[in-house]
Symmetry: C2
Subunit: 466 residues, 2 copies
């Protein structure tokens, strides 16, 4: 672990006062994120900056004293991006949580990174607008974390990932400069696309201190369909057909298997129709015209029934829709209560290959004697295959998880997919990166990292080792 020099501590104390924390219980909390199978690592100190200037000072000092800095949002990440593997400084952006400007004329909002994503959605909603990003963690994750990971979620199908909504970033570079990328303009080809390079770079290329997001007109009507199927296979086989045949773009097309639903219903203490069905699909459609939305969901419902759905439930009022989504969005939390030792993956494959992915993953689990459940964003090919320890011994779990993971990643690759669709590489998947990227690609990643961060001081050890 890296020692934090007395002199450096004094300089930081002068800037941060009691927003600098050294107490063990603080450090403990900031040693981990929500990645179930990763061990934490204690930081030397935690800082709570309020301004980009403070962050700039930290980065300059960190470069001078060669101490690593790990930026952190809400700590809800699922690949270890916010864990400080060699100690040093954790820079928590929680207190930079102001909404700076709601610009209705330009349909843009500018926020600090510590704003909870849901706050943005609620504010937009009050003005008849929407923010198109919708990670399942939206009531706990911060928009800064969403940007760092290029978070996906439930509406990527129609609206794209977090990155598609970001038009400007204020960033403190690892070398301390405060830089403004982009602006409230829809189109910009002035130089390389640095904004999309920064988005999803997992806090390794810069610390985002302001984010400008585009908002969109809110569709007047949204309807969610719930379609239970006898088996995972039948539900998943219906997905590509729904996408191609429906002639419309659903805003969501989600999938939950029996284990996911049953443990979540138990966790939420609620009843769910057909909770013993093999799997359910949730399909949401939206629009400004009631008849148009009805036409869409009726067509989609018919396709579900043709493909073997046991029933199609229509949730056309806000209350029922929210209840349905509550189940979908609580799966990860239920999992962490009932199966705290598990490994949640987010492999992503071409939409038409999802049936092969799920069948292959089931075979892998069976081969290695592991329990498996699956849920996720079936419409965009991003499924949370999750291996669960259950009552297996610690030794068994440790010995069998890694080979199963490698086979899953290789399967995703062979189907034309990748090892992470929305959770990122971080610490968790770093050693598996060569399964999907070749030597030249890894050389370019390392080269770009060095250009931004010559001393490898900002979030080192994530994505790649230099």
């Amino acid at each position: 672990m890296i020692e934090i020099q007395e002199e450096l501590l004094n300089s930081l104390k002068e800037i941060f006062g009691d927003r600098m924390k050294l107490e063990r219980d603080f450090l403990e909390k900031y040693s981990r994120d929500e990645t179930a199978e990763l061990e934490g690592s204690m930081p030397g100190i935690v800082l709570f900056p309020l301004t980009p200037e403070e962050i700039s000072s930290v980065m300059k000092l960190a470069n001078q004293y060669k101490v690593p800095v790990t930026p952190r949002g809400a700590g809800t990440g699922l690949s270890g991006g916010a864990i400080p593997p060699s100690g040093g400084i954790v820079l928590s952006l929680e207190k930079m949580n102001r909404i700076i400007e709601f610009d209705e004329e330009n349909m843009m909002i500018t926020v600090e990174p510590g704003v909870i994503t849901n706050e943005i959605q609620k504010l937009a909603d009050r003005h008849g607008l929407i923010y198109g990003g919708d990670p399942c963690s939206s009531d706990s994750s911060t928009i800064g974390g969403n940007v760092a990971e290029n978070a996906g979620g439930n509406k990527v199908l129609k609206y794209g990932p977090t990155g598609y909504h970001v038009y400007a970033l204020e960033v403190v570079l690892p070398t301390g400069e405060i830089v403004q990328f982009g602006g409230k303009r829809i189109k910009d080809v002035t130089g390389f696309d640095m904004i999309h390079l920064l988005i999803g770079s997992e806090g390794t290329l810069g610390i985002v201190t302001k984010i400008t997001l585009r908002l969109l007109p809110k569709p007047k009507y949204s309807v969610a369909l719930l379609a239970p199927f006898e088996s995972v296979e039948k539900a998943i086989d219906a997905v590509p057909k729904l996408m191609v045949k429906s002639g419309t773009m659903p805003s969501s097309l989600e999938f939950m298997d029996r284990s996911s639903i049953q443990s979540t219903c138990k966790f939420l203490n609620i009843e769910f129709p057909y909770s013993d069905a093999g799997a359910h699909l949730i399909i949401e459609v939206e629009g400004n015209n009631k008849t148009a939305v009805s036409d869409d969901y009726e067509r989609i419902g018919d396709i579900c029934l043709e493909e073997g759905a046991l029933e199609v439930f229509v949730a056309d009022n806000r209350n029922t829709r929210e209840k349905l989504w509550k189940v979908r969005k609580s799966i990860a939390e239920a999992l962490s209560v009932y199966s705290p030792v598990h490994c949640m993956e987010d492999v992503s494959v071409p939409m038409a290959r999802i049936p092969e992915l799920i069948k292959g993953a089931e075979k892998i689990a069976e081969k290695h004697g592991l329990e498996m459940l699956s849920f996720g964003h079936a419409g965009d090919g991003n499924v949370h295959v999750t291996f669960v320890k259950g009552d297996r011994t610690e030794e068994y779990w440790k010995a069998h998880l890694e080979p199963a993971l490698i086979e899953l990643y290789e399967l995703a690759r062979d189907l034309g997919g990748c090892i992470s669709g929305e959770h990122g590489i971080g610490l968790k998947r770093k050693k598996y990166l060569p399964i999907i990227l070749d030597e030249s690609q890894i050389r370019l990643i390392k080269g770009i990292k060095r250009i931004f961060d010559p001393n490898n001081i900002l979030n080192p050890g994530k994505i790649v080792d230099l």
Copy 2:
């Protein structure tokens, strides 16, 4: 100019045979693009590769002999990206023009870079799908050029620029490796977002040899409105109001001033309603339900009338709509016939600032005694302010254009905009880049360029000088 060594010529001749051209009339054609005010520069040779392997060999030889390589699509660029400023090799991708795969199941299409963009649109249309990119040059520009420039066009408002549709790229790196970035997966956060770094890098970071694009369900109904206004001011003032008040996202919101329309109608030899009006807006809405689309366009038509439109014409059949778009898409061509000496800009500002941009640009033109016309993508804030020489002397034009340009770029910046929304920096705007990017940003661009291209061999002298 860089000399091409005899030995290098022999090696290339062996690979390319009669797909290597040295004849003066060939070289002449490949010395320029469609940027009106840029002088050409003769290449030493032009090569027509058919495979990524051939391109890889060229890059390896170019690095060995230190000869610059300038990739080129259809040569329709508007910032000099395809001009070889110091001679060397021009690599024309025209013959790599195959549609490799139409994957209906995944709603993706994979093409070579030399495919004309319109061919993709036509093929998608035959399958009830659309490609969301729609540059005005779509019947002459290639998809490879669109990717290199991150081309915008008429539908960015709703569908985003070219980059939002690209999910995989096969690229020959400047150092010769053939690399596959991305795949037919909607979500991918496996490492840095290299795809969006390559898109819009103007052929300075790699030569794209395959492109996979996502297609979308084709809306069943499209209606275009044409709204003439008394003055540019009245038309432009209506734009932000249309965007905020309509409650829907038009697929296009275009603007043409009187000079643009009159010269284009003369060029096409057609009549146009209210052709003496100060300016026209074209607004297109689309959807799957006839009533919903009617509701949308009626609301938009009402807002136009409230904002002072002289009339609102509805083009609700394909024929009339195509005629309308023909005018819009032919403005640049008409300009090059009637005003061959001109300077077409594509500054981009926040939507609500468009009125200030146009008024400011008019003042700049007046101050410098220049003729000005304007047209473009008003809904997304990207307007083609165009200075025209008219009957001014060559000396006058040369003396007054540059200060006017600088003032225009500064105005765009001060309104929160940038100097290029879709045409790129290339040769044309390179020296103006510091108006909008600071030292750190330019340092990062140069650093990234060096990581990809250590010998500065691929399209050198574009965007920045190393």
